[in-house]
Amino acid sequence: MFSSCADPKTLEGLSWLLCYLTSGKHIDFYWSFLTVLTLLVVTAPAAMAFGFAGAMAARSQFLPLRLLGKVYTAMVRGVPDIVFFLFFVIALDQGIEWMKHQVVCPDWSEPIRQGLEFRVCPEAKVPSGSSAQIWHQIYGFTLAVFTFAIVFGAFAANVLYGAMGAVPRAQLETAEAYGMSHRQVFRRILVPQMWTYALPGLSNLWMILIKATPLLFLLGVKDIVYWARELGSAKTQAYAFPHPDWRLWYFLGLLVVYLCMTRVSELILARLTARLSHGQATAGGEAMRRAAQ
């Protein structure tokens, strides 16, 4: 990065450290923080969407839809995360390639499965074998977001399902007495009121999601924990910056980062809880009403 870093083996002390901390690998490390944050920012709403759809399906009057919602939450919650991240993603990837294969190579005569190998025609590879590495990374990242969304969506669905059931029946009955339809009751009364019940459960999920991001590496996305381990491990003279095992320092750094992230989340969630309790027929809402008097 700096011209003085051209020959790191001649450097010492602070200038060595400065060059070390700005090496290309460290820049990748710093970028990976952005990868993790992006994942969180994209996955949270996506998981919420899955959760909302799952909860609505599970509450549906229509039997097949209700079954679908219940089976989704029960199944995904029951499968260990690591199994999901190892097998589901490979199956998803191969599924996409298999479908594309059927469309673009209808004349392909060889079997797709040859023993342990999965072979679609070269045109059906996703992303195509000749596309730049960045596309492979984006594709991997997209698969990661999708998988995280499905897994955390199932948990969110259960939380939202419970929250929807927790809204006092009297509130809904009053709305019905005003002549609102089912849909209107759902949209105007149920959904605005359920968040206060859902928030504790959802905040748990958010915290778990923050800590689950190292699973990204299973999907081939290099996250902060991967880089901390890679950068911290002992380096021989084959590297430009040889050093002993420094993993402890890197992981201590990560500890601070993770604690900061959870602390900021807690602050935001506390404000959100206060805001959502406002005017609610709950103990929290009642306490706020008293305090305001």
Partner: protein, 240 residues
């Protein structure tokens, strides 16, 4: 129509127009001096130089990909890359699932490294990387095998006392011993293992394998492979 839409969506997803076929080289990136991620964040080491040279000779455009050692063979089979070039020893067991090229490093020695030269490698705890021929050897030697996912962790385990010794390729261990200021030392005699290091291909990829085989043969014949081995592994390394 539906099929057409699907196809369009998928083509858009795959990003980029299909140019000349690119060969993707999969490596571990954690096994210096064979392959490692250098400080600029690129794949480097003996296999980087060798791979680039082989691709040039075979007239192929190559791209480097890193992958966990643990899942390096399954990902080759599911087509995430086309070649494994990761210091992989040629063994009968691996021959059953992949096809190897001619070896580009002759059958080499493995060695034990411990904190003292008289460490008990016969019955003590010995660390090795998971899924390597060395791990298999330790498991059968009567010692207690302690496996780690990355090569570096196997050495770290000896330093912090979790294992009395580490068993790995001597070429990999030699720099660690040389730079440890006497902390680490070789234990016992070297043990020859495996049939040398080769590239691994899918069993259905004979055409690609032949291209690389021809390039390796040419490098051996022209005498350019030995200097490359010497450059990365030192003068004492075995050569062709």
């Amino acid at each position: 129509m539906k099929k057409l839409l699907l196809a369009t969506a998928l083509v858009a997803l795959s990003g980029g127009i299909a140019a000349a076929q690119t060969v993707r080289l999969g490596t571990e990136g954690a096994y210096p001096p064979f392959n490692f991620i250098d400080d600029a964040g690129n794949v480097a080491g003996f296999e980087r130089e060798l791979g680039d040279e082989l691709c040039k000779r075979a007239g192929l455009t190559c791209e480097w990909v890193t992958n966990d050692w643990d899942s390096i063979i399954p990902n080759l089979q599911s087509g995430n890359y086309d070649v494994i070039i990761a210091g992989m020893s040629i063994t009968d067991e691996r021959e059953k699932v992949v096809d190897f090229s001619e070896n580009y490093v002759p059958p080499a020695d493995s060695a034990y490294v411990g904190l003292s030269a008289d460490a008990d490698v016969k019955t003590g705890v010995v660390s090795a990387q998971v899924g390597t021929i060395q791990a298999g050897y330790v498991a059968e030697s009567g010692a207690t095998l302690l496996e780690f996912p990355t090569p570096d962790e196997t050495v770290a385990a000896v330093r912090n006392g979790e294992a009395v010794a580490v068993f790995a390729d001597k070429d990999f261990l030699a720099p660690y011993v040389a730079e440890s200021n006497g902390e680490l030392s070789f234990v016992g005699p070297d043990i020859p293992l495996g049939g040398g290091v080769g590239l691994a291909f899918r069993e259905s990829d004979d055409e690609l394998r032949e291209k690389f085989n021809a390039a390796i043969k040419a490098m051996k014949a022209e005498g350019v492979l030995n200097p490359l081995i010497e450059k990365h592994f030192g003068a004492a390394a075995k050569k062709f």
